[in-house]
Point group: D2
Chain length 407, copies 4
């Protein structure tokens, strides 16, 4: 058994010596919130096959129950993002919201399901067929209504729209159709709702996607209005993209609306965050914390969007939340005064030391202290695994099909 108390005392001393305010850091950590996705509790897969797991959730009720477990043990995951066609197939259902409340969670971002339509090989809101576009817009209007009634602050939009071949459709006419569709949807949103526009360079379309990068998402958002923002999914970038740079630019423009956390090595791999390049995760959080510390920071919706094909869903989600928490903690430990001074002196060696000092700090003792103050178990993953929940759902639910999700 680690002596976390002793480790914490040593760590707190070090931090205070640097002039960091440990209590404020703990306060920020307690206020952190990450939404988990309802579809992350269902079976998933690839185009080569789906990997069914015993106990995977099928109904919206099961998904909420599973998400509530993640929040119960981590304390930082009170919101559950929903996918409309999978979770509200018949429109708003007050019972779902009541169930969420009773489980200690709430409905988070509303994700219209604009990609499961078999007629849609030419896209949804960019489709040359006005009836298909209208159907997509209608679905989004219905999603807004669900979100309004569920008290959700975010309408989170991703589209499969794109083409596989040069010339398959007219790129600019498609751009006009997307603009028109989004403006119609935007106009229907209540004042309390933000529109988050997600971009992605490829897949399922392999020639062009209609919202391919942050610049295109930015321009579409600007064409709608000030409550339209850009959503950054960590897996939706070309190789070599400096994600923290564009995050900084979007923060500077006050156009960063939300985040989809996951990790990618090759394409949109949808792997668990923390498994590919945790230092990059840290550098992204470094920009987010820097923005958080500036006056009047804009609210950002933090969400996980992973496809847990081969790993058990709830433990995978807990592990992911804990990685995000650790990363946030490390970014909070950056000695920003020392960093600014090193930058002013163009002292690259000193900059490296400041960032490394924060990044390689083992923040577990700090997080254990936070958890204790929140009344949580020191090791959320172990606590969950020891709770018997996983065995129970595996036994009671067994292997079934359904539940939405990919693959």
């Amino acid at each position: 058994m680690r002596d976390f108390a002793a480790e914490y005392r040593l760590l707190a001393d070090r931090l205070m010596e640097k002039g960091l305010d440990v209590e404020q850091i703990k306060a920020r950590l307690k206020a952190q919130e990450i939404e988990t996705p309802s579809w992350g509790y269902s079976d998933a897969g690839t185009r080569f096959g789906r990997y069914p797991q015993a106990g995977a959730a099928v109904t919206a009720e099961e998904k909420l129950a599973d998400a509530a477990q993640v929040h119960k043990y981590t304390g930082i995951a009170p919101g559950v993002a929903v996918h409309v066609k999978w979770d509200f197939p018949d429109g708003f259902d007050p019972a779902i919201c009541q169930l969420a409340e009773s489980l200690g969670v709430r409905i988070g971002a509303i994700n219209p399901t604009c990609f499961s339509d078999e007629e849609g090989m030419m896209g949804t809101i960019a489709n040359p067929d006005p009836r298909i576009r209208q159907r997509a817009v209608d679905h989004m209007l219905e999603s807004i209504e669900i979100g309004r009634q569920a008290g959700s602050a975010n309408l989170s939009l991703w589209f499969t729209d794109g083409t596989n071949y040069p010339g398959q459709d007219d790129i600019l006419q498609r751009r006009r159709r997307v603009t028109e569709s989004l403006q119609t949807v935007y106009a229907a949103m209540p004042e309390s709702m933000q529109m988050l526009i997600e971009y992605k360079p490829f897949e399922p379309a392999f020639y062009h996607t209609d919202i391919a990068d942050w610049g295109m998402a930015y321009l579409f958002a600007k064409s709608c209005g000030e409550r339209a923002k850009v959503l950054v999914d960590l897996g939706h970038h070309l190789h070599g993209t400096n994600i923290e740079h564009l995050v900084a630019v979007l923060l500077d423009e006050r156009m960063l609306g939300g985040f989809h956390f996951n990790n990618a090595r090759y394409a949109d791999d949808d792997l668990m965050i923390g498994s590919v390049n945790p230092y990059q995760d840290f550098l992204i959080f470094d920009q987010l914390v820097a923005a958080e510390l500036r006056p009047d920071p804009a609210p950002i919706a933090y969400m996980i969007d992973q496809s847990l094909n081969v790993e058990p869903k709830i433990p995978g989600m807990i592990q992911s939340c804990l990685h995000i928490q650790r990363t946030y903690a490390r970014a909070l430990l950056v000695d920003r005064q020392a960093l600014a001074q090193a930058q002013a002196e163009a002292d690259i060696i000193a900059v490296g030391q400041v960032l490394t000092d924060a990044y390689q700090t083992d923040v577990e003792p700090l997080l254990v202290a936070v958890r204790e103050e929140l009344g949580l178990a020191p090791d959320p993953l172990a606590a969950y695994l020891n709770s018997g929940y996983q065995e129970r759902i595996a036994r009671e639910r067994g292997i079934r099909s359904g539940g939405g999700g990919l693959g």
Copy 2:
């Protein structure tokens, strides 16, 4: 209407002036053979959904009938690669071979179906569970038997094996399991059969794949024996890979066994060949033709492996065959004597002219001449589209599910 006869006379004069032997070029074009894949006539899709098409083939019989159409109009596609679990679900079936023969085609490469097993999230022949490995090996032994009876020359192997996370399994133990499995399979092949080992850097596994690149495939092949060769799928490379270079190296080592034609822009996009970088296709064929012209060239199995999600299957396959034919024709037009001289003089400008001259030649008049001599229509695609076959299968078969394939 183009005056192909007049264009051909002008072209033939130009080629002869360069010292090229037009009759020999036509003879090579008549001898070209490209296998089309049975699964390319069925519905396909992505992890976000399958795109069903009216008339898509479901049964092996329908696939053969569709493939026979491609051969009927192009004259260069007599072989049909099969996927065992989809086309021979109950073992060898002589009726299938008889049908093929009656349709004017034949069974080509045998592809064991080593990836649809739901237990297989830890892989097939690299799986830590010996029973799952044995099942995969047994399936390949059965595939060999089917191939032996069908008179197929090639056992074409691709595996989904790999891991999503660092440490998920021991990479070297997996390597030993793959070696052992492949050696067992190799030992069971008749003398008339080659083993083609395909590599792929990622998908569906996103951390490592057990046969990730040509070097790993090469070493596995060497560990089996001299009838084990490497199969190059054009879509299975990291960005920036100079494919024609590794093709040249494999040819030099006499280790290139086969080709999967398709095009990719981002990942394993499985697009129609000719749609992304036709000049690269030409440069690959330039190496293949150079090898073909050297003494004692080794046989190479040329196959199409595309996932025609959004385009009609048979017309898409015809268009692809025609692109490959055009590309081969252009590579045959390279003035190799002039090229060698320009290389000897390190004259980069002259090299560029030689390659450009061949590449930008409009070879349609030459191909029309070849088709006439073979008794084919001058425009295979138009002839097929005018035949009424497509409308008939759309009407008679309608939209159905099944047939194997991806997505």
Copy 3:
């Protein structure tokens, strides 16, 4: 000898049958203009060494003389882009302009030389040191004055600014410094001048570059004013970027100011255009032609920016111009009515045919006809190589150092 006249008659018949206006196509081809860069006539290299060539230009006079050769034989390269520190080291020099005029060319885009400063490892206009920023701004103000006197329409800006390490400098403070510097420069430009802002994802900086992608360049341009536009260099994109898509978006926003032609396979390789993916070049021109055919097209500055390390400069530049000309010609041959109809019917096969028909047309007979009407030799490269100019400069100039350029 090719019978171009006979080939042209056959081609013209085909085009007219499609309903294309051959005379209008020829008129557009005669009006095409591509600037060549003065620094492309000097020695170049890589960080591993410079490759000196006999006859490479050193003085501005020699560069203009060489550029004039390219125009003399191609007829489409009347402008010569200049780099201020290399070509106007002492400010505006009327003799240079007079020489250009006498040679039949003119001074094109003005490129301030914002990257050879040894103090600049923290950048130029983003540098934390205000004196270094001021020096860069002063140099640009001087460049504007040179451009004004030389009658140049474009101030073409590229900066090496960026960082190698996370945290090396504050990204947002740098963004403010860049904005402020650009706005100062913009304010000094005469009404007749456009500012072209070039972006680049990496090199020489390897963590972040301050203007990393088209979106960032777009925002900087917008912050300056309506005569600030984005410049697209074909080699400044991450792997997989669909360049024609972003070109279409910039055209749609009327924010595309100029082009740097070159080809890249891996990084900013600065290879001769046409050597990597000529089909992509065609697809880009397809967007440019589509925009050209819309009402009130905005002017675009077309420039070559290549680093001819290993190939002879003037022949390489001629070959590049001819490739661009051919590509433009092919894009003009796209049957846009047939394309629109195929798109309206979502007929991917027909779309492929339309684009392929245009792309694989051998346009040489058409270009020979254009050249004849312009009084040019039918084969500009051969005519140049036979002129004796290359041997003469090699002999008279020999191998020398200097002249600016990279490596």
Copy 4:
């Protein structure tokens, strides 16, 4: 001040509880050796310019003196890799070896300088000109003689050979020339010497490089003999390459001869290790440690090869050594028994915990303990920076040109 003693006690307790042998771990850390490159102490740059620094080394004597500082403070850098044309321009010089010995360091890997030849735009050992090939071979033979007299165990080979354009030279003839050249060099090596063959996908050549990937290097090595091995430079891979996978394969084949440490984000960026993806560095060391723990591990030459353009040389090198040391320490902390068990149970969550536990351990207290036992200062970087050496060389040497290196 951190209380390292207290932290170490807590850490040692934790490690022992896991069953790890702390003393053995410390013994391995004390035995670690990393060569630093002589050229890393000289000025460097990019093709856009060189960044001169006050105090950068010019002579071989200065480079050795600087390298000795790195060893003096880190205790793990006793070897100094040399570049022959820069460090032994006139052949072997016993004074250099004596100086090294007197400074407490020794000559490490011998790097022939096969890339600064201006005639070499068609390459060195692949050049079509036999005289240029012979010159390169002669230089390598001379390098072997220097290595033999200096007692160096490794001849480390990297070549700029490659082409910029398709067809520029015949790829297979080049392959034969490379083979022949390497075999000649191999035959001249004393028994005590290994040949390390480095591969690189691009730069300075941008179409193909003659030794492009590990597979090609492997085949060249095999064609020479058993003392020819592959050298892995971390920056010489295409985007997405799983480096630890190919390292594992090379280790399995006993064909991994050496390592060049540096970090890359885009191309061969030659950045300081630890700045891009330290988790990947850890996963590579995880494979190296796994191999080290197997019976009869083959020796591997660990070398740094970085281009410290913008950061001060000696501090940058110390920081890099410390990162490698930390990474090795973390890999030694992996609980391999727990890992094997998690793998056997296909428990991905547990695997993640085992790797994360090791990776996020703050190993500084362990390393401080090791340093104390070796008689070193606890913080090598601070000790160096406080020593006055840096100020002294800056003052005494000033800014000069020369010294070899890139840019």
